[in-house]
């Protein structure tokens, strides 16, 4: 990635500072100091708006943005549980999630529900709740999911003696929709020949969303967008790349690829586009809870969903929209949903002449050693292909 005109972004620096203190970031500390509660959520199928509407701070449960020693977690979860789940647990066993007042998980994959089992068994926390999430998006599945979300609401109300009113939920929807529209604005800029931010920076920006109160985040993001517009910042790379696959929130990993000449202009990650992509449709569904539930089940699908072509179609559409020249698929070892999809997705991408680099990784890994070598060879191959074209 060659940086052609790079101004320092004050808002981005603030986000970096917040991220650096993960998991107990300064804004979370300030929130707790006001006597308010914090609930972790673990998967993009858990509707954050409900937690916010309960007057609590939803924070995303992740591991750290670098590879951890997982010895403690390995003692509770077998080594064939993916390292994303084990990293989350490792932090918990090291008391780093002690500030949580509850944890809402989802039965979205084997790792996710088994992590919740272990959390419930061994860690002291007022609430561990596992949300049932269908794997289809049929009307029947929506009806089930709406009921399950209603149960989640009730559980939160009972456990914390709060009321989640329709009004509060509507306000939460407005707040979170604003985030989505701001992130869309940011991602729109990434369609340019020379976007204003790198892929690594984009990841830092999205990471901050998980680690601070949403109203404060929106203000910061608004400032960032203004700075981007004012500064006419531009970054360029030799090759336009998409990164996709298992949970990834390590900017260093992307930076390694970008340092080799690639520019990650789009992602298909649950810590990227899949987090914010689809809006809540309050016009068709006036009941705010139903509107939220429908949005979460209909959102850009994770590989857990069936049929796989729904996800593939969206990945291909993104690749076209962002003029992607190559895809880097990172699959965490034992992340089975993505491992099953990968050969079929690769075939579809290659059919439209988009080469794919597949990387089996552990969660939090930086792009050193073999990964760097393979990424370098991939970028060089794409450059050569471009020259020949």
């Amino acid at each position: 990635m060659a940086e052609t005109s790079v101004a320092t972004l004050k808002a981005l620096e603030e986000m970096r500072e917040i991220n650096a203190a993960f998991p107990y970031t300064a804004p979370i500390k300030a929130w707790k100091e006001r006597g308010k509660k914090v609930l972790a959520w673990t998967c993009t199928y858990v509707p954050e708006e409900l937690i916010w509407a309960a007057g609590m701070l939803p924070v995303r449960m992740t591991g750290d943005s670098h590879e951890l020693e997982l010895e403690d977690a390995n003692a509770y979860l077998y080594i064939n549980t993916c390292s994303f789940q084990r990293s989350c647990l490792q932090l918990a066993l090291g008391n780093q999630w002690d500030f949580l007042d509850g944890y809402v998980s989802a039965a979205t994959c084997d790792g996710s529900r088994r992590l919740a089992d272990v959390w419930g068994n061994y860690l002291s926390i007022p609430l561990v709740y596992v949300l049932t999430v269908p794997r289809k998006t049929t009307e029947r599945a929506h009806q089930l999911y709406i009921s399950e979300v209603r149960d989640m609401k009730q559980k939160i109300e009972e456990r914390y003696e709060v009321q989640i009113t329709d009004q509060a939920l509507k306000e939460a929807i407005t707040l979170y929709e604003h985030t989505r529209s701001l992130l869309r604005e940011l991602y729109e800029m990434k369609k340019r020949d020379k976007p204003p931010v790198t892929g690594a920076e984009t990841m830092e920006i999205v990471n901050a969303a998980f680690r601070m109160p949403r109203d404060e985040y929106n203000q910061l993001l608004e400032r960032l967008l203004k700075e981007l517009k004012d500064s006419r910042r531009q970054v360029s790379g030799k090759i336009r790349l998409m990164i996709n696959g298992s949970p990834l929130n390590n900017p260093e990993f992307i930076k390694t690829i970008e340092d080799l000449g690639g520019l990650v202009v789009i992602d298909e990650l649950c810590m990227g586009t899949r987090y914010w992509w689809d809006p809540v449709d309050t016009k068709t569904y006036p009941d705010p809870l139903e509107a939220v539930a429908r949005r979460y089940l209909n959102n850009f699908p994770c590989a857990r969903m069936v049929p796989c072509d729904d996800r593939f179609d969206k990945v291909l559409a993104l690749a076209k929209e962002y003029r992607v020249e190559g895809v880097v698929s990172e699959i965490i070892r034992y992340c089975v949903p993505y491992a099953h999809d990968q050969p079929l997705l690769r075939e579809r991408l290659e059919k439209i002449d988009i080469p794919v680099l597949e990387l089996d990784v552990e969660y939090g890994v930086t792009g050193s050693g073999q990964i760097r070598t393979r990424a370098q060879a991939f970028v060089e191959m794409l450059e050569e292909k471009k020259l020949k074209a």
Binding site: R113, L115, D117, V118, R135, V306, A339, E358, D360
Partner: protein, 424 residues
């Protein structure tokens, strides 16, 4: 898809013949009636699979725990993919070709070997020409994610039977309605129609089979243990493929009678029963001889196996057969252990079985491809130690890949564990 080879049923035919030959050999050797009947039942089943289309019957692939009763009731032979295609690989000894095909296609080695096996058999064109596939998340992410590949490989239609996480009335009803849609899919894919009376009949057979299995579970509390280690592993394949048929009932009846007789006569199967063990998860499919060795040479009986024999409460309602089958999916072993919160499933069942069957120890077959089962190891082990006072051996293995760990290594670890039990 470019990778698919032409249809070639020689391996499948070879497997069917192998089952027939084993049945004959058992008969000639004067083996226990259930032992002969098991292999004969499977030989007949695979013949039905091979002849289904010629005989005007339907033929559909189903993944583990999709209720076969519905298929049998519609005159559709359900090809139970995990069971049939793993047996094919074991009996035809084609591990290398199978795993290298899966790898060549791009399936990572972390995908469960059972599902890499099925994928490879489809890619190689060795799976019979099914008219459709029904797959389901009844057990794990692998069962949820495996289906798309089969559909694309054989260019056939499919139906995903969505099973929710928790055992609540709402979720059972959801699954029942999914099954209604599964029937509609089967009608479209095969041209067969569901006759509700035939479904009730299949449900009745299923209920008889479950009642017999519950009797078998009770009989296994006896000291000495009346069933051989191998026999107990034979229950699940019959349940998965033949539930809803008189053949499944017959197999369970013969086995129940055999155990009753042994209990009456205070006869065990181990020469001298020295150890009573709980078997957790599934012993390697390619190494059932290890179970014979445990029993015959070490006097170790597998007296309980929650993943294969611990049924939850289930009372069929013949006025609503689909709802009954949905309820069965929440009561059936494997699903009980693999789905839902561990505290309510595998942990509780393992402790109950260890106590009721007077176990001295437990073996957790830690299949490297099974994230669902292995993630509970610590909790199960601790619960067994604290509540049942028994130790657990965690034995690393692979359900399908014999190269993962050698037989000698497994035997060494088992022997060391038995020594620990001896000292206790």
């Amino acid at each position: 898809m470019s990778a698919v080879k032409a249809l070639d049923l020689k391996k499948y035919q070879g497997m069917a013949s192998a089952f027939q030959a084993i049945a004959q050999r058992r008969r000639d050797q004067g083996a226990e009636p259930s032992e002969t009947l098991y292999y004969q039942t499977l030989a007949d089943y695979h013949r039905q699979v091979l002849q289904a289309r010629e005989e005007g019957r339907g033929l559909v692939g189903i993944t583990v725990m999709v209720p076969p009763e519905i298929c049998w009731a519609m005159d559709i032979v359900p090809l139970q993919l995990e069971n049939a295609l793993m047996s094919l690989t074991v009996l035809e000894r084609c591990y290398e070709e199978v795993f290298s095909t899966a790898k060549g296609f791009g399936l990572s080695p972390e995908v469960c070997s059972a599902h890499r096996t099925i994928a490879a058999v489809f890619l190689l064109g060795w799976a019979p020409p099914v008219q459709g596939v029904i797959w389901s998340p009844q057990v794990c992410d692998n069962t949820a994610k495996c289906g798309d590949l089969y559909l694309k490989t054989y260019r056939i239609p499919g139906f995903f039977l969505d099973r929710p996480y928790r055992h609540t009335e709402r979720e059972v009803h959801y699954l029942a309605r999914e099954m209604g849609e599964m029937v509609a899919f089967l009608e479209r894919a095969t041209g067969k129609r569901l006759d509700l009376d035939r479904l009730r009949e299949a449900l009745d057979y299923s209920a008889q089979m479950v009642a017999l299995q519950q009797e078998i579970y009770e009989l296994r509390k006896a000291v000495p243990h009346p069933a051989s280690n191998r026999t107990i592993c034979q229950l699940l394949p019959v349940t998965l493929t033949m539930a809803g048929t008189p053949q499944a009932v017959e197999f369970c009846r013969v086995l129940r009678d055999q155990l009753r007789q042994r209990v009456r006569e205070h006869r065990g199967t181990a020469r001298e029963e020295s150890y009573r063990l709980v078997s957790l998860f599934t012993p390697p499919n390619h190494k059932w001889k290890l179970l014979d060795w445990l029993e015959k040479e070490k006097g170790a009986s597998l007296v309980a196996d929650p993943y294969q024999s611990h049924w939850g409460p289930w009372e069929p309602d013949f006025s609503d057969p689909l709802l009954s089958l949905a309820q069965k999916c929440f009561a059936i072993p494997v699903c009980r252990e693999m789905h839902g919160p561990a505290e309510e499933g595998v942990i509780a069942d393992a402790v109950e079985d260890a106590l009721s069957h007077r176990a001295d120890g437990a073996i957790f077959w830690a299949h490297i491809g099974c994230r669902q089962a292995c993630a509970t190891i610590r909790a199960v082990k601790e619960a067994l130690a604290q509540k049942a006072g028994i130790p657990t051996l965690v034995l690393d293995c692979d359900i399908m890949d014999p190269s993962f760990v050698s037989e000698e290594e497994m035997k060494e670890r088992l022997e060391s564990f038995l020594e620990v039990l001896e000292e206790r």
